[in-house]
Assembly symmetry: C2
Homo-oligomer: 336 residues x 2
DNA sequence: TTGAAAGCGATACCAC
DNA sequence: GTGGTATCGCTTTCAA
């Protein structure tokens, strides 16, 4: 049914070795034969088996990408960037949603290993760094995206979260806000911690402080975020500026403000993080700290493939800079 | 370096056949041997090569999913549904963004064939149905998701777009709107055509008509949609109800209305389609026709895998029902 | 219960 | 230039 290299060889009256040569453009084959064989491959709709090729030691030209949830716009955009770059370089990508569960991560890691992917990109949280050990031991290239695993020496592409937090603080300060609050992701998320650190440092530099009770945590869930913010904004000492560690949370904040009859930005300025498509569709559109998502994905792929090419020595660490994107959810402080 | 079945066999002092048996839980192996071998596999971090297995005729347990753009929330949510179901059944999925370009579709189709995916799900537009022919010829299971290819007999999972359009019209009519307009995707998109047909039919049943100039088309791009709607709403005979063929366009409409100083829903009621996460984050939140995205993905996977199991005869056609989700972007008509 | 051996579809080295 | 053949890691009869 399916044509194999043998079928082509027989049809052309040559050996499979010769056919293999023309498939891979290697060796010396007379122009005539080459054309002949190509024609036959075409005619028989021949597709060389990547699987058989991989078995002989060739790469699979497949990369794995682990994210918590591909339906989350941030990871969807990241996936797109990764896929685009991969395709351009001749690779395809298997995307896996882990829901941040170590058990799932581990299962996927094994699965991808069995399928002999050439490398893996990890954009999902991992509680126990040990589960990556087997990979490294087998020297399968791994790149972490926007995640830190200080105990491991692996390739890393990340953004400067601390700077991001600082930018947010700076923006709010410049608008005259000094009563500030923060909505964080769960505390174990290191990137959130860094963002908050940067935010707080910037405040301190300006002579302000951030009381611990002004920092609340919630899951990335819209509704949960809204509930937290509802409380934050009901405080008598209502903050006039709120920094959220991702766009979804910022949207929850927007909704909370609305529910309380507060105007954004006149009553509260709200600033998000990520700059996913969500930030541009809210009303008012969200001021946010933009992650260079496309670059993040592109570099991860490049690093991986580079390692595949010349069995890299040193783990690379790339840190990209976030940027402030001003839309309409932040404005100058208004005296009350 | 990497342990193979031979390493395990040698270590256990048995033949590779025996090891293979225990890997696959087949044949009759003494409990003692089985336990012994398992222990050794564990100890050596042995991962059987799925590639070698596939070469012997086993499935690859990999499915392909083609969508126009994985960063679009609708497709991201679909991908998540597909992935979830696939994982549950032991498959992983390769996701490919085609940007609706036939050339890309074709390249991916070939690529996935070479990698011997067990089946493909196609959620991307295809202009020339012929490029699917080779697949069907090779009897590779294919399922179209929310796409129609009338000329081909393939599995199809879709929603009743016409009903969706009708639901939208009905809702608007019930609110008292009779001055209506429609924002469509480009006219070659068949699902949009069906939605509009259903919309129009419902109007006609109620004794109203929809003038051709009240139907505008734009790409799925937020900004393009906004521009179209800006024109629609600037008409002296401004419509009080607007049906958009997807949520992104509806958001463009929301923004256009805002820019014109029109209130939603008091001045214009706007209704979208898809019910992606976007619909819930806008302000006001979007009334929209919900696609059962999760079911769509799940059925596509199920159909494919069912065919893999018992080499199905008849192409299946599954049509799911959309539902009206009322939020706050639609309201009763207000006399002016 | 276990093992020997024939593929699966390609690659690559070595002859000719 | 071209062909013969061992090999990759596993599955699967068929014998023993």
């Amino acid at each position: 049914m399916k044509a194999t290299i043998y079928d082509i060889a027989r049809e052309a009256g040559v050996s499979i070795a010769t056919v293999s040569q023309v498939i891979n453009g290697k060796g010396k084959i007379s122009e005539k034969r080459r054309a002949e064989i190509m024609e036959i491959m075409e005619r028989l709709h021949y597709q060389p088996s990547a699987i058989a090729a991989a078995l002989t030691g060739k790469q699979t030209y497949t990369l794995g990408l682990l994210v918590p949830d591909i339906s989350n716009p941030y990871f969807a955009e990241l996936a797109r960037a990764v896929e685009d770059r991969s395709r351009k370089l001749g690779y395809s990508v298997v995307i896996c949603s882990t829901d941040n569960k170590d058990e799932r991560v581990e299962r996927y890691l094994n699965l991808l290993q069995q399928k002999r992917v050439d490398g893996m990109m990890i954009g999902t949280g991992i509680d126990n760094a040990d589960i990556l050990a087997p990979l490294l031991q087998q020297s399968i290239p791994v790149a972490l995206i926007a995640r830190q695993m200080p105990t491991l020496s692996v390739h890393t592409v990340a953004i400067d979260d601390r700077l991001g937090g600082a930018l947010a603080a700076q923006h709010l300060l410049e608008l005259g806000h000094t009563h500030l609050a923060v909505l964080s992701e769960p505390f174990k998320v290191s990137s959130s911690q860094e963002r908050i650190r940067g935010f707080r440092e910037q405040l301190q530099q300006a002579g302000h402080t951030l009381a611990p009770e002004r920092i609340r945590a919630s899951s990335a869930d819209l509704h949960a975020a809204k509930q937290e913010v509802l409380q934050l904004l009901s405080d008598i000492e209502r903050p006039t500026g709120l920094f959220c560690c991702n766009d979804i949370q910022a949207i929850g904040a927007l909704q909370a403000a609305k529910e309380l009859g507060l105007r954004v930005p006149e009553d509260v300025s709200i600033i998000g993080f990520d700059n996913t498509i969500l930030a541009s569709v809210t009303s008012p559109p969200l001021t946010t700290i933009a992650q260079p998502i496309e670059e993040l994905g592109r570099h991860a792929v490049d690093i991986l493939i580079e390692e595949l090419k010349d069995h890299n020595k040193q783990p690379q660490q790339k840190v990209l800079k976030p940027e402030l994107v001003i839309r309409e959810s932040t404005g100058p402080r208004v005296e009350r």
